[in-house]
């Protein structure tokens, strides 16, 4: 309640600023008049009475300032004042301002571009239940890329022998050709999955039912399929009659669609979205992609230790391929999706680039701090005048910081544009001359800035503004201004009564002797 009243008074004070200011003046002047009248009645001559009333009142301007502060509008007002001043200063030297903003735009833009890609590739989370518990099982021959695909035997040993996973999920990705009634033959990306796939990921059905353990059989593939919500929308226009429709996959026998997954589910990788799923054939010689859901409290390292032992026992047989014996098992977090050729190709270069552009931005900050310092030196006179007129140190500090923050925020706005084009250009560079096998590549997922990216950019801009502005602000406000004050005063033309005209007009209320 009290917060509300006080908020209301702040808001109304901001909007009715000039009226409130006038009323404040009226009230204070009335006070001084009343006092002068009282003094006159007690026998003091009028002129002397007015003079004494003003002295007794004390620092008129100081109290006005304090009243504004007491009304709670002070912070915003000062901010607006500082911003206005900063704008005026930057208009005065457009060349300097342009160079600073451009430098910042490039520095911040480069960071945003790389972060946008990292965000799309590694930092989003899969739309499934508790994605942070998911880990991916990979095997790797020393010096080669890691690969997620295990034999039926290895899968069985690891499924039955482990104590670290609450579920071991089977899911492989592949391209399929699909056709059917009212469905032109087309290539879709999909997967063959185990019976616990949807249930262990916590995915629900938008229509019909999803593939369960009852659909997975030894030695043959059950004739059923599940499609994604977006596939249902784009190919079947959300037709409720979709359940039971037959489609033909890879020219095999027709299978029936039994359900649609919940809206937003796209499988296990954002860059390789899946649209159709079939049950796996148990015991087949196909590769089984494996994903584990860690039991609560089990660490990645514990899981790796146990799974490595199980994996060794599965492949270390007298008749085994000597290459297989040198395979190492790896466990990687999969909350942001399983690894794809794209993520394997880009993760390391992107991380290196991110560090590079981060350093670049630090260098930019150092350069700009130097520029601002140099300009601060040429503004010493201005700072001295303001300090002499009574601006406290904190106020000067704030002013200088507001200026650098304004610059960095404008730089940030321009930088977002720079980032947009830079990310697209980078993707073209990365993708040129490479043929990526095994998964469709949704590059656009890597260039779409989302809320995370914008927040990141804003944080970078604020940090940059503070870093650039801190040193100049400290130096501008730190210098002891008293000697300069005296020099300034001496350089003013003294008026006949010994006070400079400027000083006396400013000090009219404070020290009437001048």
């Amino acid at each position: 309640m009290r917060v509300l009243t006080s908020l209301r008074s702040v808001v109304s004070a901001l909007f009715h600023r000039s009226r409130i200011d006038n009323e404040m003046e009226e009230e204070l002047r009335a006070h001084i008049q009343d006092r002068a009248n009282d003094l006159e009645r007690s026998g003091v001559p009028r002129a002397e009475a007015e003079r004494r009333a003003r002295i007794e009142f004390g620092g008129y301007e100081k109290y006005k300032e304090e009243i504004r502060e007491a009304q709670g509008t002070h912070f915003l007002e000062t901010l607006i004042q500082d911003l206005r001043y900063a704008l005026r200063m930057s208009r005065k030297s457009p060349g300097f301002t342009g160079v600073v903003i451009l430098t910042l735009a490039l520095g911040i833009g480069a960071n945003t571009a790389i972060f946008t890609m990292m965000n799309g590739l590694m930092l989003h989370t899969l739309p499934v239940r508790d994605p942070e518990q998911l880990v991916e099982l990979l095997h790797q021959y020393p010096g080669e890329p890691a690969f997620n695909g295990f034999s039926w035997d290895a899968y069985q040993v690891m499924r039955d022998g482990n104590h670290v996973f609450s579920d071991l999920i089977v899911g492989s990705m592949n391209f399929f050709t699909v056709r059917g009634d009212k469905l032109q033959p087309q290539t879709v990306f999909g997967g063959t999955i185990g019976g616990n796939f949807f249930q262990a990921l916590g995915v629900r059905a938008a229509a019909g039912r999803l593939i369960g353990p009852e659909d997975v059989h030894m030695g043959y593939q059950a004739p059923v399929a599940v499609v994604s919500w977006s596939f249902w929308k784009s190919r079947f226009d959300l037709d409720p009659e979709i359940i039971g429709k037959k489609i033909v996959v890879n020219d095999d026998a027709p299978v029936a669609i039994i359900g649609v997954t919940q809206r937003g589910f796209y499988g296990l990788s954002e860059q390789a979205k899946q649209d159709v799923w079939w049950p796996i054939t148990l015991g087949s010689s196909q590769g089984f992609g494996l994903l584990g859901r860690l039991k609560p409290g089990v660490s990645k390292e514990q899981a790796r230790a146990e799974m490595a032992t199980l994996f060794k026992s599965a492949v270390d047989r007298p008749d085994a391929n000597p290459f297989m014996r040198r395979m190492e098992l790896r466990i990687e977090p999969a909350g942001s999706g399983v690894s794809t050729p794209l993520s394997q190709m880009l993760s390391t270069p992107l991380t290196v680039l991110m560090a590079t552009v981060g350093l670049l931005l630090l260098l930019t900050c150092a350069n700009l701090a130097g520029l601002l310092l140099a300009r601060g030196a040429s503004r010493q006179h201005e700072m001295a005048v303001r300090a002499c007129l009574g601006a406290p140190r904190a106020r000067l500090l704030r002013q200088t910081l507001t200026e650098s923050l304004l610059l960095s925020l404008v730089g940030c706005a321009v930088g977002i544009f720079v980032a947009y084009f830079a990310a697209h250009a980078l993707i073209r560079v990365f993708a040129s001359g490479r043929f990526i096998i095994g998964a469709p590549v949704h590059f656009e997922a890597l260039t779409n800035p989302d809320a995370h990216v914008l927040l990141f950019t804003l944080a970078v801009a604020l940090l940059t503004g503070l870093l650039c502005g801190a040193a100049p602000a400290m130096s501008a406000s730190k210098t002891d201004q008293r000697p300069r004050c005296n020099r300034l005063r001496a350089s003013e033309n003294p008026s006949p009564d010994g006070c400079s005209a400027k000083a006396s007009s400013l000090r009219r209320w404070r020290s009437p002797s001048c």
Binding site: E27, A30, H31, R35, G58, G59, Y63, E66, E69, Q71
Partner: protein
């Protein structure tokens, strides 16, 4: 006139609340009433009154309205709100406790220790 005492920080609000509690007043009138009820023993820099008044209004302890004064001038009057009345009571009690404690401390004799 007896020697005047500089008022303690924080006590100006209490004095203003007390002065206004005796009836609605305008700014200069508050000053006069404080001088009157303290028998002229307290020294207040007059301008300091106004930041305090605006602060008390913002805290909802006083409310202000414009009206014509007895000499027919538009004047801003302050009066106590119910929250202000409650605050005055609390502050009075606190002040009395403080004064009693300091007074008894200052009266302490060596043999009491």
């Amino acid at each position: 006139m007896a020697e005047r005492a500089q008022i303690l920080p924080g006590t100006l609000d209490l004095l203003i609340l007390k002065a206004v509690s005796l009836g609605p007043l305008y700014g200069y009138g508050i000053l006069l009433r404080i001088e009157q009820i303290s028998h002229g023993a307290l020294l207040i820099e007059q301008g300091a009154l106004y930041p305090a008044l605006f602060r008390l209004v913002r805290q909802g302890l006083l409310k202000a309205h414009w009206d014509t004064s007895e000499n027919n001038r538009r004047t801003k009057f302050y009066e106590l709100t119910s929250a202000g009345r409650k605050r005055l009571r609390q502050e009075e009690e606190g002040w009395n406790r403080l004064v009693a404690a300091i007074a008894s401390a200052l009266k302490a004799q060596p043999e009491e220790i």
